[in-house]
């Protein structure tokens, strides 16, 4: 997922931003500046007095508190040596370079760079095989591609087994005055790199009321996320954008600060807080990226009222364009694919798929729907209620009965949480299973997804990057007996409650987006087109 808790630094942030968004290669000076700053980071780290170095770092980057963990990461990775399939975080994450760094000659820089790369390669061989992204960054000698040279930064929430990362995160949260959420329960060893929280211990218990650091709308939103009251990627993004609108309305620029810079810095602790409540989804990450870009593009001579109005307008436009109108466009395309007499299978509760089915029903198509549901979330019941209210005739089964019901089905419509750049569909756990069984019965599988959910990450299995939900959700009481009640007491028993899984593209026949109907493998093409447009 996208951990967008980073910011742009002062000064050259603008140039690099503009260069990146225009898709040009960084100029030599900019590259040098980046390298200088990275080298400085490494030197400070190597110093024996770690604390002193961190304090001096803090001074230098007072305007960019959250960039320390990511820059430490970038110091470990080969700079600019990755293909365009990079995660969502801002490309300028390594940009905060204070101007008071000592200048070095070109030869010295080159020598230091080479030494650093050798050290990185040696250290990398000692590491365990990790995310595939890391293997991609191991090509230390690869020249930067002519596409945007984006430096990879591993998001924190998939590095829970790395104690250094956890320490840095704790320090960062302390600085931002946000409580750190602790993991709960025994984690299955395959997932020791992910967080696992309990719903009974929400983050807000550790916050003081009223919270001075975090806007109350954000606190409420975080609580809604962690308790599962707001769930589903569209709902979460829209709620996030509305909360940000409230934040912008209540914002006043402090004296001697620029709105474009200060507001972005204000948003960072909020994003960290929301990330602690529940890891950000890909759609939320894209939305945050968009907002930050808009805020930083506000010209400095713009008056505060006008700037705020402009931002609110931007957010409204984003919601309208990317979510509401996109849903209309997708519904229009999908209706062509629904014919009379169809039996359509849907899984869980996807707001987009529900919208499509309701629209098709309004237009007079005759079909019936089979809603497949799964424990422990049982989201299908919500979809069932919505469809039955409209008058659509529905059948309801659990996912274990899907191979019983599939011979009756003519089409499968699935929603998506995100579409990855290698064509895999990331969606609610169980989606890949349904696609698998549908393929075995030769039933077409159609995935509906708006383009703002397209993500530049790549992933091949459901282990490396996922979300672990509260394991206590799996416990059920049947006939008065709760079998797994004391699962914590038994050492060798673990419960696993996954939230997402990835569906390989050969199971998916068609993806319906607001740009049209495309095959799964065209996702990187769409991403590239979008980037060029921006």
């Amino acid at each position: 997922m996208a951990d967008s808790g980073v910011t742009d630094g002062p000064e050259n942030r603008d140039d690099i931003e503009r260069a990146k968004t225009e898709g040009k290669e960084l100029t030599k000076e900019e590259k040098q500046r980046l390298r200088k700053e990275k080298k400085q980071q490494k030197k400070n780290k190597e110093k024996k007095d770690e604390k002193a170095s961190r304090e001096s770092d803090k001074e230098k980057k007072s305007a960019a508190p959250a960039s320390q963990p990511p820059t430490q990461h970038t110091a470990q990775k080969a700079p600019l040596a990755v293909p365009a399939s990079a995660p969502v975080p801002l490309p300028a994450s390594e940009a905060p370079v204070p101007a008071d760094k000592p200048a070095k000659s070109k030869a010295e820089l080159k020598a230091e760079r080479r030494a650093r790369q050798e050290a990185e390669r040696a250290s990398k061989q000692g590491k365990k095989g990790e995310v595939g992204q890391q293997a991609a960054t191991g090509k230390a000698k690869a020249p930067p591609s002519e596409l945007q040279p984006v430096v990879k930064r591993l998001p924190e929430h998939i590095q829970v087994d790395n104690p250094d990362v956890l320490k840095k995160l704790a320090k960062k949260l302390e600085r931002q005055q946000i409580p750190l959420r602790s993991d709960y329960g025994y984690k299955v060893s395959l997932f020791s790199h992910l967080h696992q929280y309990s719903r009974k211990a929400p983050l807000t218990q550790q916050l003081s009321i009223p919270s001075t650091v975090i806007h109350p709308a954000i606190v409420r939103l975080g609580l809604q996320y962690s308790q599962g009251i707001v769930a589903g990627s569209n709902a979460r993004s829209v709620a996030l954008l509305h909360a940000f609108k409230q934040v912008i309305r209540d914002y006043t620029t402090p004296p001697k600060e620029e709105l474009s810079r200060d507001l972005v810095n204000k948003l960072k602790p909020y994003i960290s807080f929301l990330n602690q409540c529940r890891p950000l989804s890909a759609s939320m990450g894209n939305a945050i990226k968009y907002i930050k870009k808009e805020i930083s593009n506000i010209p400095s001579q713009c008056k505060e009222e006008e700037a705020k109005r402009k931002l609110l307008n931007c957010i409204e436009c984003y919601i309208n364009e990317k979510i509401v109108l996109a849903a209309k466009a997708i519904a229009k395309y999908s209706i062509e694919k629904i014919s009379d007499g169809d039996v359509i299978l849907v899984y869980g509760c996807s707001s987009l798929v529900n919208h499509i089915l309701c629209e098709a029903f309004e237009k007079g198509r005759k079909f019936r729907v089979i809603v497949v549901d799964s424990r422990p979330r049982l989201e299908g019941r919500e979809a069932l209620r919505r469809l039955v209210q409209r008058g659509i005739s529905c059948t309801y089964v659990l996912i274990s009965a899907v191979s019983y019901i599939l011979p009756e089905v003519s089409k499968v419509f699935l929603g998506a949480h995100a579409l990855l750049a290698n064509g895999y569909v990331m969606s609610r756990v169980g989606t890949s299973q349904i696609a698998l069984v549908a393929k075995a019965f030769n039933v077409p599988v159609l995935v509906c997804c708006e383009t703002y959910k397209f993500c530049e990450r790549v992933q091949t299995d459901s282990f490396v990057s996922n979300e672990l939900d509260d394991p206590d959700d799996l416990i059920v009481t049947r006939k008065g007996k709760t079998q797994l009640e004391d699962w914590q007491k038994v050492d060798s028993l673990g419960l696993l409650n996954l939230v997402y899984d990835v569906t390989p593209p050969d199971f998916v026949d068609l993806v319906i987006t607001d740009l049209g109907m495309i095959p799964c493998t065209s996702v990187p093409v769409v991403l590239r087109v979008k980037n060029v447009d921006q």
Binding site: R375, T395, Y396, S403, Q433, W487, L496, D501
Partner: protein, 354 residues
């Protein structure tokens, strides 16, 4: 004069029938198939001992009649029918032995035999042999001993199939698989992932039982089967019935599990003792599936939509033989293509339809 069942035999038969009727809906105490098989065989032995019959044909008639009643009480409990067919085959064998003919020629359905003599028909069972009763009862006792040892025999083979540090996946609860894994756990360390198998969630009991034996167990929801399958080395499942074509009638969710295993080329091993082998084929659509109360799936608390929605709660799944790698039974391991041969050893073709 056909045989008759004495009055005092009626009550145990009725008790057994009512047990069968209650046990199948998922609400009464769930009985393992091994128990049902044992009880059926014990009851058949009692019928043989206490009913009034003079020739093998009479006995077979009685057993068939009572057997039909037992099967109609709970059609999904196929072990009852299987045991009845085994006992019928025992009777035929003992009769043939008493007559002095070798068993081979009598039961072989060679084409020549079928054309010339038409096989051993019912009339031939009219002869009376004094020792037949004792022989039949003795043979049924052997069958009972075999039934008692099946789980152990299957579990004994565990170490041949499980190596250390494996990740094994299973679904729901099968006593045979439980014994199998516990036996292997005595000598090897491995990890088991149990799919909980909604809505009855029998996987939870399986997981607690395995973890008490010291096996590293993880419980996952049914929806995560495919997500987790890439890290699984073997899938070991139990089944309710093994069908005549080598397919399975297993708990719902097994077909998905088998497809996921096939996709990842993970071997699928079925631990099924011989008494689960049934001469049925999966073609009879209306008798294959069994449904229980949909309130397990959509409870009555969802009242306002209940009346407008169709809810299905099937109990079984059909798994085709192409997805299965190996059957492990009390007499060893077999490929699915060999099942039809085992069938001909256990049951007589005329008994396939009771």
């Amino acid at each position: 004069f056909t045989g008759a069942v004495h009055g005092f035999l009626l009550s145990p038969i009725e008790a057994f029938l009512s047990d069968l009727k209650r046990g199948g809906s998922g609400t009464g105490p769930l009985r393992g198939s091994a128990e049902t098989a044992r009880e059926t065989t014990a009851l058949l032995r009692r019928i043989t001992a206490q009913a009034r019959w003079s020739s093998a044909g009479d006995l077979m008639e009685i057993i068939r009649k009572e057997g039909r009643r037992m099967i109609t009480a709970q059609p999904s409990e196929t072990t009852v029918g299987n045991m009845i067919r085994r006992v019928l085959k025992i009777i035929r064998e003992e009769y043939a032995r008493s007559r002095g003919k070798s068993e081979e020629t009598d039961q072989q359905e060679s084409l020549h035999k079928l054309l010339t003599s038409g096989g051993l028909s019912e009339d031939n069972f009219r002869q009376h042999f004094a020792a037949l009763k004792a022989n039949v009862i003795e043979a049924i006792n052997e069958l009972l001993t075999e039934l008692e040892g099946t789980t152990d025999n299957v579990a004994m083979q565990a170490l041949e199939h499980i190596h250390s540090n494996e990740v094994i996946m299973t679904i729901g609860r099968s006593r045979t698989v439980e014994a199998f894994l516990k036996d292997a756990a005595r000598k090897r360390k491995f990890h088991v992932i149990v799919a909980e198998c909604a809505p009855f969630c029998q996987g939870h009991e399986m997981a607690t039982s395995l973890s008490e034996a010291g096996i590293e167990t993880t419980v996952i929801a049914d929806a995560a089967i495919f997500a987790v399958m890439s890290r699984v080395n073997k899938v070991i499942i139990g089944t309710q019935t093994v069908l005549a074509n080598g397919g399975l009638r297993a708990v719902n969710g097994t077909h998905t599990l088998a497809l996921a295993a096939k996709h990842h080329s993970t071997p699928l091993i079925v631990c099924a003792p011989m008494f689960k082998l049934s001469p049925q084929f999966p073609n009879e659509e209306d008798t294959f599936h069994k449904f229980v109360s949909p309130h397990e799936v959509l409870p009555f608390t969802e009242g306002e939509i209940l009346s407008k929605v169709n809810v299905h709660c099937p109990v079984f799944d059909y798994v085709p033989p192409e997805l299965i790698t190996l059957f492990i039974s009390n007499i060893g391991g077999h490929a699915p293509s060999y099942i039809y041969r085992l069938m001909s050893e256990l049951y007589h073709p005329e008994d396939h339809e009771l």
